[in-house]
């Protein structure tokens, strides 16, 4: 139970974090320094999973992605993919915000200079903006990973709690506590905490290296 949950949790968190890093960096960049009518609305929508109770988000996802939902054909609920979707949706706002702030803190003169030197927008983004925003982005990735690893409410709703298939570490803790297996529950808690600490330390060290 423990091994399966650990392996599943790590896989899910890694995949979800990769997706969220890409998406969050792009949306963060898109909304940095940009003011247009409706910007606050867009920001609020992107931040919803952060403020809504996870079970609400999970339920909404279930309605959207379930068989009768808008994307029903993909058969997502109760699958490994559902765990990834739940973790990704819940951790996305953290990455988006971190990225947006990181890009907003860049000295705009660097992008102006890069443009004056003939760099197109893509080259400017890859060669100048990304490297300079590195630290803020790394912090966002760390937060997103930790959030994805610890995701519970939405996962329970969307993926169910099927051992070996969708039972992540947090769900395993929950079940162990319900069935009175307190020693297993504590072991799982320790494991989860340990993995999270390890990840956060590693990213902090990466950030410090510059």
């Amino acid at each position: 139970m423990i091994a399966a949950a650990l392996s599943l949790s790590v896989q899910v968190a890694v995949v979800a974090t990769i997706l969220v890093t890409i998406a969050g960096t792009l949306t963060g960049r898109a909304l940095a320094h940009r003011s247009f009518p409706g910007r606050e609305v867009v920001e609020t929508l992107l931040s919803l999973p952060l403020v809504l109770p996870p079970t609400v988000t999970g339920y909404v996802l279930l309605v959207l992605l379930g068989r009768r939902g808008l994307l029903g054909g993909l058969s997502i609920p109760f699958s490994w993919l559902a765990c990834v979707v739940a973790a990704a949706v819940m951790s996305f706002p953290l990455m988006h915000r971190a990225a947006r702030v990181a890009f907003e803190e860049l000295d705009p003169r660097h992008t102006l200079t890069a443009a004056s030197l003939g760099a197109g927008r893509l080259r400017s983004f890859l060669a100048i903006e990304l490297p300079l925003a590195r630290r803020g982005l790394a912090a966002g990735i760390a937060l997103a990973f930790a959030r994805g690893l610890g995701e519970f409410g939405a996962t329970l709703m969307l993926a169910g709690n099927i051992p070996g298939r969708t039972q992540t570490l947090p769900l395993a803790v929950y079940e162990a506590s319900l069935t009175g297996e307190n020693r297993a529950a504590l072991a799982l808690c320790a494991l989860l905490t340990g993995v999270s600490i390890a990840v956060l330390l590693a990213v902090a060290r990466l950030g410090r290296h510059r």
Partner: protein
């Protein structure tokens, strides 16, 4: 504020929620002034609460197994444990599919996902799991099972179409709308008998909960249960 503190807290298995609401209403008419509050969850969840010291006064379990666990904590009031009802398991399926005619029909591939309660924490799930094993269906449908956290959720999965079929109590099947199609009742010899037990939990509101328990066990209470489709307690 004080009124709330003096209310008796009843924790019941989800499948008993509707009859318990009716019983509380009837009891309050007979004995006005007694405040009763009710919480519904899977029996496994309630046992965990009892184990961790939650201030419950009355526990209604969908299985003696959970009641045994509760008894081990020493928090049950001696001599108050009794059976109050029985139930049957039934197969349901979602609308749009040809419903199964027998339990074995579940083997058909059109039932790609079959929902039952989590066998570890939901008695209905445990009963369903036993039935599946005894009927030797595990090989075929074992991998198609998805777990709900309580019987209501199992019904929900089927109603929404996220599960193609499910195993729930006969009493639940009667509650559903057009989205869920009731199917065959499962042979009772395939699983442990579904016996609901009640017991008082020692705490603040025990005295008040005692009066309600006696009402449940009286003909008036038993009638409410029977009206909702529950069988009488074994003699």
């Amino acid at each position: 504020m004080i009124a709330v503190l003096l209310a008796a807290l009843i924790a019941t298995a989800v499948s008993l929620k509707k009859p318990m609401d009716e019983a509380i209403a009837a009891f309050s008419k007979k004995v006005p002034g007694e405040k009763l509050e009710i919480e519904a969850a899977a029996s496994g969840v309630i046992v965990a609460q009892v184990e961790h010291g939650a201030p419950l006064d009355l526990f209604l379990s969908a299985s003696p197994v959970e009641m045994d666990r509760a008894a081990k904590t020493g928090r049950l009031v001696e001599g108050t444990r009794r059976a109050i009802a029985t139930n049957r398991l039934v197969v349901v399926s979602r609308k749009g599919l040809a419903p199964p005619k027998t339990f074995d029909d579940l083997m058909d591939p059109r039932f790609a996902r079959i929902a039952i309660g989590n066998p570890k924490t939901v008695p209905a799930g445990r009963y369903a799991d036993q039935a599946i094993r005894k009927a030797e269906l595990t090989g075929t449908i074992g991998r198609r099972l998805v777990f709900g956290e309580n019987v209501r959720q199992v019904l929900d999965y089927v109603a929404r179409g996220d599960a193609d079929a499910g195993i729930v109590y006969a009493t639940d099947a009667a509650l559903v709308g057009a989205d869920v199609v009731p199917g065959p009742v499962i042979d009772a010899t395939l699983h442990d008998p579904v016996i609901y037990e009640a017991a008082l939990v020692s705490g603040e509101g025990t005295a008040r909960a005692k009066a309600f328990l006696e009402f449940l066990a009286s003909p008036a209470g038993l009638e409410i249960l029977a009206k909702n489709g529950f069988g009488p307690p074994p003699q």
